[in-house]
């Protein structure tokens, strides 16, 4: 039960169709991320690890987008949704050093402290996790017995 052979909402799709759909959506996400990268690179030019942090985020988002689309109609989708929310919590806390962002522009040291906003983002992602769990339970309840 709940594998790729499950004939749920999109369960009847062939592996090829799933792959094509997932690839198209992932490409769109990738292009959007590329635009963001070009735009943000100019703003955060002075931030030392920006390229590394953005690359990690982009790769993770592309991976989760592909897998969520690819596993659509199966219970694994909810696992990846929960995994993405969990990853975002850890990533945002780590990349922003707990909500304090600092960078040097020539001799000027600049700090942005956004701990309340970070807390809001964590709450939203925790809600995403809760939603994912509930959806997974609902999916399992509604799925026909093998």
């Amino acid at each position: 039960m709940s594998g790729f052979d499950y004939s749920g909402r999109n369960g009847s799709q062939s592996l090829f169709q799933r792959t094509v759909k997932a690839t198209i959506v992932t490409l769109v996400v990738g292009i959007v991320l590329l635009f963001f990268w070009v735009f943000l690179s100019q703003i955060f030019a002075g931030y030392p690890n920006f390229q590394t942090f953005f690359a990690v985020l982009a790769v993770a988002l592309v991976f989760f987008t592909f897998m969520i689309r690819f596993t659509d109609g199966t219970i694994f989708k909810y696992g990846f949704l929960i995994g993405r929310a969990f990853f975002l919590i850890i990533y945002i806390v780590y990349a922003t050093s707990g909500g304090v962002f600092s960078m040097d522009i020539e001799s000027f040291h600049f700090i942005i402290e956004f701990v309340p906003l970070l807390a809001l983002i964590i709450v939203v992602n925790l809600m995403e996790i809760a939603k994912g769990i509930l959806q997974a339970v609902e999916f399992t309840v509604e799925a026909p017995m093998d």
Partner: protein, 257 residues
């Protein structure tokens, strides 16, 4: 369960919108504040009175942004070479959106404190290192801080403070010496100055009671002091101590005989 999921979906969507809109509007608010030249400074005023140096730097902030500005704090660390001379910190009241703040950054430091931190500041011109921190919070949520380094030239109020003594006059039984300095400070030197002379046995030979000293900026001061002393108390050398507003600013060994 479906209703719960739907409610969560809506709540998540609304919170994501807030999370994205809030920083964007805060950024726009700050841009509006920066572009309208809403922050201005006036000429700082240096003064000295009753043993305390004062610096007052008036400024205004016209909050043309959408959000209140709170927790405004300016901290300045003053250093000379590797020494910390003073640290000043001032918190300003919240500026509501659409209102204006007229304030001044006021700094006060006692002569005794200044002297204990860096005694060379009274007698030597130098370049002070200023490490300035500014912090404020927009919409009570997002804090912005900046730190910059600057330098400021310091003119010593008792620049080249010198005591030139003449040998003891056995005919008139007097010792005499000249005290001189140039006021390089931006403010007039205005206070009570007193002197005392001791021999090498640390016995008090005499004092000059406090008298008001007023030397305007970049003016030289030179005065001859004469004191009648019993020849028996005279030693080959002694010390002259100069007090300004009850703070000892000079302790110099001089030739007495």
């Amino acid at each position: 369960m479906r209703q719960t999921i739907r409610a969560l979906t809506w709540a998540i969507a609304i919170l994501w919108i807030i999370t994205l809109i809030l920083p964007m509007t805060i950024g726009l608010s700050l841009l509006q504040l920066a572009e309208s030249k809403s922050i201005g400074f006036r000429d700082p005023v240096f003064t000295y009175s009753n043993g305390i140096f004062y610096l007052s730097a008036p400024f205004y902030i016209n909050n043309t942004g959408f959000y209140d500005l709170s927790d405004i704090n300016i901290t300045i660390n003053v250093g000379d070479k590797s020494k910390t001379v003073a640290r000043f910190s001032q918190i300003f009241p919240t500026i509501n959106a659409g209102s204006m703040l007229n304030e001044s950054y006021d700094v006060a430091i006692g002569l005794a404190e200044l002297l204990s931190n860096d005694e060379e500041l009274l007698t030597n011109d130098t370049t002070l290192n200023l490490n300035m921190h500014l912090f404020f919070r927009v919409a009570y949520l997002i804090g912005f801080g900046g730190q910059a380094n600057a330098t400021a030239s310091w003119g010593a109020p008792f620049y080249n403070l010198t005591v030139l003594s003449s040998p003891y006059n056995y005919t008139f039984q007097k010792i005499s010496f000249t005290l001189s300095f140039v006021n390089h400070a931006y403010f007039p030197v205005d206070g009570m100055m007193a002197l005392e002379i001791r021999n090498s046995r640390n016995e008090l030979l005499g004092t000059f009671s406090p008298e008001r000293l007023y030397v305007v900026s970049y003016e030289a001061f030179s005065r001859l002091y004469e004191l009648s002393v019993d020849p028996a108390e005279i030693t080959s050398s002694g010390t002259v101590r100069v007090y300004f507003d009850d703070v000892q600013i000079l302790n110099r060994e001089v030739v007495l005989a």
